[in-house]
C-alpha cells in the first residue's frame, strides 16, 4: 500500500486523449503511440488535429495500431458524450483502457476585472472540460463491467496559486477534489484514478495566455522556468514533473496517497521552511504593486461607474 509501484504497458491498449492535438496532450499521444498503443485524440481545431495525426504516424510501431482524431469542443456534457462514442465506434464500442484528460486552458486576469462570461468560461475550461468526459467514461466502463484508468490534468495551480489566476485555479483545485473523491469511490469498480499537476509548460496555449497575463503575475512567475510538453509527458508517471510542484503536492497531500511516504516527509520538512518565505516575498511584491494597479484600474474605467 505504501510502496507499491505499478508499471503499465501501453502496447495494444486504447488510449483516449482529450486536448490531444497540441501541447501536453500531443506529447503524450506520441509517447503512447511510440509504445504501441491505439490512440484517439479529441480537440477542437481540425487543422491541428490533421497535423497531429501526421505526427502520430511518424512513431507508428505496427500496422495494427489505430490512430483516430475527432473534432469536438468538450465544454458541454453532450459533446463530451458524442466524442467518446465516436472514439469507441471502431473499437467495437468498448471503452478505452486509459483516458488522459489534457484539455484545458487558462485566462489570467485580476479577479475584479473578469467579465461574468470569462469567469464562467474559466470553470468550463478548467473543470467541466474534463469532468464531463470522466463522467461518461465512468458510466460506460461500469455498465460494460470494464476496468481501466482515468488521468486528470490539473496544474501546480491546483495545489496553490499566485495573483492573476482566480478564473483558472478554482477549476484546477476542483479537479483535485473530484479526483480524490473518485480515487476512493472507484475502488468499487476497480477503475484507477490519477491526477497530474504540471507546472508552466512551454506550449502554444502558454503563448496565448501570456498575451493577456497581468504584469504582476509575470513578475511573480519570473524565476519559475518551466517544462516542454515532452518533459511534462515523461513526468506523468509520477504525478508531478518538477521539484517546485512536488513541494506543493507534498505539503498539501492531506489524505491523498503518496508514492514515497518517507521521501515526501523529507521534501515536506524543507517545504515548511522555504514556502512561507516565498509566500511572504510574494505578498510584498503584491503590496508594492498597489499604486501601479490603481492607475491601471483608472485607465480601464473601473471606477467610472
Amino acid at each position: 500500500m505504501f510502496w507499491s509501484t505499478k508499471s503499465w504497458d501501453a502496447a495494444g491498449k486504447h488510449c483516449y486523449i482529450t486536448g490531444g492535438s497540441s501541447g501536453l496532450g500531443l506529447a503524450l499521444a506520441k509517447m503512447l503511440a511510440a509504445q504501441g498503443a491505439h490512440v484517439s485524440i479529441v480537440a477542437r481545431d481540425e487543422q491541428r488535429l490533421a497535423r497531429a495525426l501526421v505526427e502520430l504516424e511518424t512513431v507508428r510501431q505496427s500496422k495494427a495500431q489505430l490512430f483516430q482524431v475527432f473534432s469536438y469542443s468538450l465544454l458541454t456534457a453532450e459533446a463530451s458524450e458524442a466524442a467518446l462514442k465516436a472514439a469507441m465506434e471502431r473499437h467495437s464500442d468498448v471503452t478505452p483502457d486509459a483516458a488522459f484528460l489534457c484539455a484545458g486552458k487558462s485566462i489570467p486576469r485580476f479577479f475584479v476585472e473578469y467579465t461574468t462570461a470569462e469567469l464562467t468560461e474559466g470553470m468550463d475550461f478548467g473543470y467541466w472540460v474534463q469532468a464531463w468526459s470522466a463522467w461518461f467514461l465512468a458510466k460506460k466502463m461500469v455498465a460494460q463491467r470494464r476496468t481501466g484508468s482515468i488521468t486528470f490534468v490539473s496544474s501546480t495551480l491546483g495545489l496553490m496559486t499566485v495573483p492573476g489566476y482566480s478564473g483558472y485555479c478554482p477549476g484546477k483545485h476542483a479537479l483535485r477534489g473530484l479526483a480524490d473523491t473518485l480515487r476512493c469511490e472507484f475502488l468499487l469498480y476497480g477503475i484507477d484514478i490519477h491526477i497530474f499537476f504540471p507546472p508552466t509548460m512551454f506550449t502554444p496555449s502558454y503563448e496565448e495566455e501570456n498575451k493577456i497575463k497581468p504584469a504582476l503575475t509575470k513578475k511573480i512567475e519570473e524565476a519559475d522556468g518551466g517544462l516542454t510538453a515532452e518533459q511534462a509527458a515523461m513526468g506523468q508517471a509520477h504525478i508531478t514533473a518538477d521539484f517546485l510542484t512536488d513541494s506543493f503536492r507534498v505539503s498539501s497531500r492531506g489524505s491523498a496517497p503518496s508514492n514515497g511516504w518517507i521521501l515526501d516527509g523529507v521534501i515536506d520538512l524543507a517545504a515548511r521552511v522555504w514556502i512561507p518565505l516565498w509566500s511572504t516575498l510574494t505578498d510584498r511584491r503584491v503590496r508594492a504593486h498597489r499604486e501601479g494597479h490603481y492607475q491601471h484600474l483608472q485607465e480601464i474605467g473601473f471606477f467610472a461607474f
Binding site: V112, Y114, M123, R145, M160, P170, G177, L178, L187, S251
Partner: protein, 338 residues
Amino acid sequence: MLADATTLLASLAAAVSISMTWSFFSGAKWNPSGRHCYITGGSTGLGLALAVLLTRKGADVSIVARNEEQLAKALAQLEAARVTPNQILKSYSYSLNTCTAAKEALEVACEPHGGETPDAVFLCAGKATPGFFIEETEESMKKGMDNTYWLAAWSAMAASQRMIRTKSHGKIIFVSSVLGYMSMFGYSTYAPGKHAIRGLAEGLRQELLLYSIGVHIYFPATIFSPGYVEENKTKPRLLLEMEESDGGVTPEQAAQGLYKGIQRGDFHITDTFIGDVFRTSTRGATPQNGNFLKEAVYGIIGYIALPFWRRDCDQKVVAHRPAHEEYLTSAGVLSGGK
C-alpha cells in the same frame, strides 16, 4: 552541519516567537459592534447562528437567502438578540447563483446604510447532495457546483468590486469545508466546489492585498444544521456508516469557532480536530496561523495518521463492492449477470 542546522532552527524559532508576540500586541481584534455584516445563507444553520452572534455583539446585520418564510423566522430571532435600538437588522430574499442576483442583493442591502458597502461579507450559502458519481445527472452535477462554488464566487465578486469602488477596506469570509481539504466517496458534486472555493480564497487573499481587503476562509467539519438533516435523507448508506463516528458541532458552536478565528486573524480557520489535522496537512503555499507549535504538531499527526485513516476508508469501500453491485443492478445501471 549540525551546528548550522541548530543555529538555523534556533533563529527560526526566535523569529516565530517574536512575530507571534508582536502580532498579539499590535493587532486590534476585529470588533463587529456598529459594523455592517452581510451574510449569505443567513436564514438557517451556520449563517443564522453567525447572524445572531454578530447581532448580540452590536453589529448591523443583513441576511440573504431564498426562502421567505425561513427569512422571516430568522429575522425574528435577530430582533430577539438586538442589543441597541439603532441596530439595522434586515433580511432579503434572493437566489444568489448568478452574478446579477448577487450584485443586486448586495446593492439593495446597502440602501439602509446610506449606500455604504458592508464591512464584512460572510459567504455561508451552500449545500451538499451526496451520491454516487455514476448516478449523477447533468443537472445534479451543475447544481452541485452552483450550490458550492458559484454561490460563493458571485457574491465575492460583487463584494470585492464594490469595496474597491467605494474604497472601503472590509473583509470577505468564505466558507468551504473539510471536504475542501480532502475528499472521499460520495462527494463528487460537493468536494470539487469546496476545493474551488479554497483556490479562489487563496488567490483573492493575495490579490486583495492590493486594496487592503482582508480574506478569511472557514473549513468546518460536520455541522448539525437543517441542511445536514436534508443531506442525510439521500446520502448513500455506506457514507452514513463511515461518518457515524465523526461527531459534529451545533451551528452555534461553529459560528463561535469561525468568529474566534477571525479574531485571531487566521486566514484558514478550523475549529475541530479533523479540521486542524487536514488544514496543517494540506498547507501548500497557505500562510500558517500564529501558533507555530500547534501547526507543527498537528502536521506531524496528519503525516502519520492520515495514511492509516485513508487505508481504512479504502478497505471499507472495497468491502462494499458486492452490496454496491446488487444496488446498481436493482437500480438498472448494471444489467444483471452479463
